[in-house]
């Protein structure tokens, strides 16, 4: 069976690095990006099962990532993480069918569980 592919987008390297190491331990194939432009470009080439994205980023932000993914790749689930406990953004994201929404710091165990749920919901 092919491994699931997870994409992590966060403008801080540490988030991607830690997520990659933790998720690879679960057997996922993980790719990380520091901003959304190359991430969206990569999505054109490769199918990802889950995209974990930061909300607030320079250039294309997490909301836009969510909308683009929902529109172009409806089978890909999106998990939003954000440094700011922003209720409005959370509601907006939920409206746009985000799979999950976590304030940072996010417990890696919970992120893993959320990804598992996203994958089993298919």
């Amino acid at each position: 069976m092919d491994s699931y592919r997870i994409m992590v987008i966060d403008d801080e390297k540490i988030v991607g690095d830690m997520a990659k190491m933790s998720l690879e331990q679960e057997g996922y194939i993980v790719e990380t990006f520091l901003n959304a432009e190359p991430a969206l470009a990569r999505l054109k080439e490769e199918n990802f099962n889950v995209v974990v994205t930061d909300l607030k980023m320079k250039g294309i932000d997490g909301m836009e990532v969510l909308r683009t993914v929902k529109k172009l790749y409806p089978n890909t689930r999106v998990i939003m993480i954000t440094a700011f406990a922003n209720l409005d953004a959370a509601i907006e994201a939920l409206r746009d069918d985000v799979h999950d929404f976590f304030p940072k710091p996010v417990k890696i165990k919970e992120l893993k569980a959320s990804i598992q749920r996203a994958l089993s919901n298919k």
């Binding site: 540490i14 988030v15 690095d17 331990q25 940072k104 710091p105 992120l111």
Partner: protein, 854 residues
């Protein structure tokens, strides 16, 4: 006892001739409460940061910044009130805080300090200079300063000097142009190294080195020689960098020679081997700064390495490796060494001694430099240390381990006069016995041919399988096939180049204390050294499986899948992420607690190294302030009726009544239980006095338990004749604030108990602990289990429990306070008994059922 007497004297000293502005007790008490409140807030932030940065959470720098800014303002706010409270009795605390704050801010905001000297002598190095002088210098200077160990005269050439040197020669662009692409990097690194070696020194660095050379001669004579080695920022702390950079030994302490060696040490940062190492652990070579250590040479008769805890065994044994001459032969694994296994004890005992066949030794040459020579025949097999020297080394190693609170890898030398010198100390990487590690697995011996059995010493436990690659020459490493097993006559730190993809390493000669051994542990490469004849027994290209376990080394013919599958191959860990380590580094200035025993002389504001220390210091001194007020404050004592509570148990409580809390005659300095009129206080004490809950007989303690010293101390401090007490109750008719200090534990109960349930509260706070972390959390768990039973809201953060109960009737309050009093008394000595999780439940159940037998 001596310490206690000294402490008492110092307290007396405070009061002789000290004049104080008259302050009302209410004012002092208010400040006291404010200090505690902001301290508590700060501790909660510290605990939260420890949790979020533990590796279990994804976090970003915003979290670190915002948490720290909150912490910093809580602590500085606390200091301000503390200064009022103590009337500036500790003026240095603010400076200490500012220094720590500066370190953390620099780390958090990635500010590199640019000011500062280019050369610093060890006597002027303080703990917060690690950034400037690198880990190796900082550790050695600390041993010299704090432990007064024999460290040779030395100075550091700082990272500032490095920066200036690089910029002066316009090498910064070349360094900036280096990137992580391994393929094309070799020639560029070589070119950079050449440029460095051919570089000029900026005039001010020139002058600084010249002055340093002159100064070190005044310390160790005209004929002074130096060991010049790297001291990189994280070196000897998180990662060892063992043997990664060049070392120059026996360099004449002359400007020109020092500069020449300096250039080569700096150039070694850009070697292919160092580059591979840095890359592996996520360092960005472009941001890496190297300080240099220049340490006076010891004309060593013998030298070697100590592991302050046996990496393969118990924490209560220690290993010394010793060889003739300089230590290089031992650390590079080039010769066999004497081996000592010693039981660490107040009376150290040599358990095992195996003299090595020391065929070669490295000696200092008269004009500078060193030479590897044949050991004189009569010395080859004779031990190079006397029993006294072994014992002395053991004691020093134990004190270093205690000081850094981690097992240490120590380099030492003994000179012609028999004096012991410490040349280096760094944390020893010991493998932890993880549950996911190697499962014990026994194979039927007849199924697989055993090629080697129990020869050599395990450096890193584990199982590795692959083709044997017998290395004859270091150049062959370039062609080393990934996944092979490296088999070699000698061990070498140069093997680091293949460590990311070698399956195992086996050598004929070598010691578990070499650089390579450190690296193998770091990279978790299963490895065995000193097998004697692996290069002969094993054939180049042959498939084998190495199973290196505690006291059991087997090399099987062929690849044994069952064995391989029993290991958890995924050894990658969060700790290996550079960005993570870098951000977590701030905790070093935040969480560790260095000020532990307030009865020791070291308990001063100047000794605070972390935010936690600052808080601990303030807490202790604030409580002391109240205690002092009560006991010695001239008019205050009588004005506020601070009296000793006379109880049948040695709880050592002093009561300050702010109105209606006691019913005693004016001028009396004692109160009995019956004279307590404070409703909440009376209930608490009633609980503490409940028959059977206060166990005065010492609980059996395990040897080495930190608690044993604590319990002894408790007995002294609670002795009714003693002048020192840490237990203060501030009371009124409806209020109590009881601060208890039993040994290292702080317990605070704050309660308001009136006829109006809305105003009532009980706040129960417990923190501290000198026993190991698991027992600590067990006590916390026990408190939680019981308090929950009485309806408390519980908040546990690591070592801290905060329990709140509010809005209940006076009658219920009295009942709960009675139980809380019993709980305080009951759990006072319990740590030592909580050996496992099941005992927690059992004791909690017993307590709730009113069975107070221990």
């Amino acid at each position: 006892m001596k310490n206690l007497v000294g402490h008492l004297r110092s307290i007396w000293g405070h009061y002789k001739g000290r004049t104080r502005k008259p302050r009302s007790f209410m004012e002092i008490f208010r400040h006291f409460k404010e200090v505690l409140a902001s301290n508590n807030r700060a501790l909660e932030i510290i605990t939260d940061m420890g949790e979020k940065l533990s590796g279990d959470y994804l976090f970003d720098i915003n979290y670190v910044k915002s948490s720290y800014s909150e912490l910093s303002s809580a602590v500085s706010g606390s200091i301000e009130i503390f200064e009022y409270l103590t009337q500036n009795k500790y003026p240095k605390l603010k400076d200490v805080f500012n220094r720590i704050d500066k370190q953390i801010t620099m780390l958090t905001y990635d500010i590199v300090s640019t000011s500062g000297e280019m050369v610093i002598f060890y006597d002027d190095i303080t703990w917060d200079m690690a950034h400037n002088v690198g880990g190796k210098n900082a550790n050695l200077a600390e041993l010299k300063y704090y432990l007064k160990l024999n460290v040779p005269a030395a100075f550091a050439i700082t990272t500032n000097a490095f920066d200036k040197f690089i910029k002066h020669n316009r090498l910064d662009q070349k360094i900036e142009a280096l990137s992580g692409e391994n393929a094309e990097i070799g020639p560029r690194l070589n070119e950079l190294q050449d440029s460095i070696v051919g570089s000029e020194f900026p005039p001010d660095l020139d002058a600084a080195i010249k002055a340093a050379a002159a100064k070190i001669k005044t310390l160790c004579g005209e004929n002074c020689f130096l060991a010049i080695r790297s001291s990189a920022e994280e070196e000897d702390s998180e990662f060892s960098f063992a043997g990664q950079f060049e070392t120059y030994l026996n360099v004449p302490a002359e400007e020109l020679q020092i500069k020449e060696a300096y250039k080569h040490v700096v150039a070694s940062l850009f070697s292919i081997k160092a580059f591979a190492y840095l890359n592996q652990f996520g360092y960005d070579i472009r941001k890496f700064k190297m300080a240099t250590a220049c340490v006076a040479m010891v004309d060593a008769v013998s030298s070697g390495v100590i592991y302050s805890s046996d990496p393969a065994g118990d924490r209560d044994t220690l290993i010394i490796n010793a060889a003739w001459g300089l230590g290089e032969s031992v650390v590079e694994g080039q010769t066999d060494a004497d081996f000592y296994l010693i039981k660490k004890d107040s009376n150290p005992q040599i358990i095992d001694m195996r003299p090595g066949r020391k065929e070669y030794m490295v000696i200092n040459l008269a004009g500078g430099g060193t030479e590897k020579v044949k050991t004189p025949e009569e010395m080859i097999n004779s031990p190079c240390l006397t029993t006294e020297q072994v014992i002395e080394l053991t004691k020093e190693a134990v004190s270093i381990e205690k000081h850094f609170r981690k097992p240490q890898d120590i380099e030492w030398a003994v000179n012609k006069d028999g004096n012991v010198f410490i040349l280096q100390a760094r944390p020893l990487r010991i493998q932890e016995n993880t549950k996911s590690g190697v499962k014990p697995l026994t194979l039927p011996p007849d199924l697989n041919k055993v090629l080697m059995k129990n020869s050599g010493t395990v450096v890193q436990k584990g199982i590795g399988a692959g083709r044997v690659y017998i290395l004859k020459h270091m150049d062959e490493l370039d062609n080393f096939p990934k996944g092979s097993i490296l088999v070699s006559k000698y061990d070498s730190s140069g093997f680091v180049r293949v460590m990311p993809y070698v399956s195992a390493i086996i050598t004929d000669i070598g010691t578990p204390t070499s650089h390579m051994a450190s690296l193998c542990r770091e990279f978790k490469v299963p490895s065995v050294v000193g097998t004697g004849n692996a290069t002969q027994v094993l054939k180049h290209g042959q498939e084998i499986t190495l199973n290196a376990d505690d006291g059991n080394i087997s090399v099987y013919d062929g690849i044994i899948k069952e064995l391989l599958e029993s290991t958890d191959m995924n050894t990658s860990k969060i700790e290996n992420i550079y960005e993570y380590r870098k951000k977590k580094y701030v905790l070093r200035y935040i969480s560790p607690l260095n000020l532990i025993d307030p009865l020791l002389e070291e308990f001063t504001s100047e000794r605070c190294k972390t935010m936690h220390d600052v808080l601990r210091f303030m807490h202790e001194k604030s409580v002391m302030e109240l205690v002092d007020m009560a006991r010695y404050g001239s008019g205050m004592l009588h004005d506020h009726g601070a009296v000793k509570l006379d109880l049948p148990i040695p709880a050592g409580i002093i009561v300050i009544d702010t109105g209606g809390g006691l019913s005693i005659e004016a001028g009396s300095d004692k109160a009995t239980f019956e004279q307590i009129t404070s409703v909440p206080f009376k209930s608490l004490v009633k609980g503490m006095l409940y028959p059977g809950v206060w166990h005065s007989d010492a609980v059996a303690l395990r040897t080495g338990d930190f608690l044993s010293s604590m319990m002894r101390m408790t007995d002294i401090t609670s002795d009714s004749s003693s002048l020192v007490s840490y237990n203060v109750a501030v009371v009124s008719g409806e209020y109590v604030n009881l601060s208890l200090r039993f040994g290292y534990h702080f317990n605070m109960i704050d309660s308001f108990c009136s006829d109006n349930p809305k105003n009532n509260h009980i706040f129960f706070r417990f923190t501290g602990g000198a026993t190991d972390i698991t027992k600590r959390s067990r006590r916390i768990q026990l408190l939680a289990d019981v308090l929950k039973e009485y309806g408390f809201n519980i908040n546990i953060k690591g070592d801290l429990i905060i329990a709140r109960l509010a809005n209940i009737t006076k009658e219920d309050m009295e009942e709960v306070l009675d139980q809380a009093g019993r709980l305080i008394a009951y759990t006072r000595q319990l740590d030592a008994l909580l050996h496992d999780d099941s005992t927690v439940e059992r004791y909690a159940r017993k307590f709730i059922n009113g069975d107070y037998e221990l």
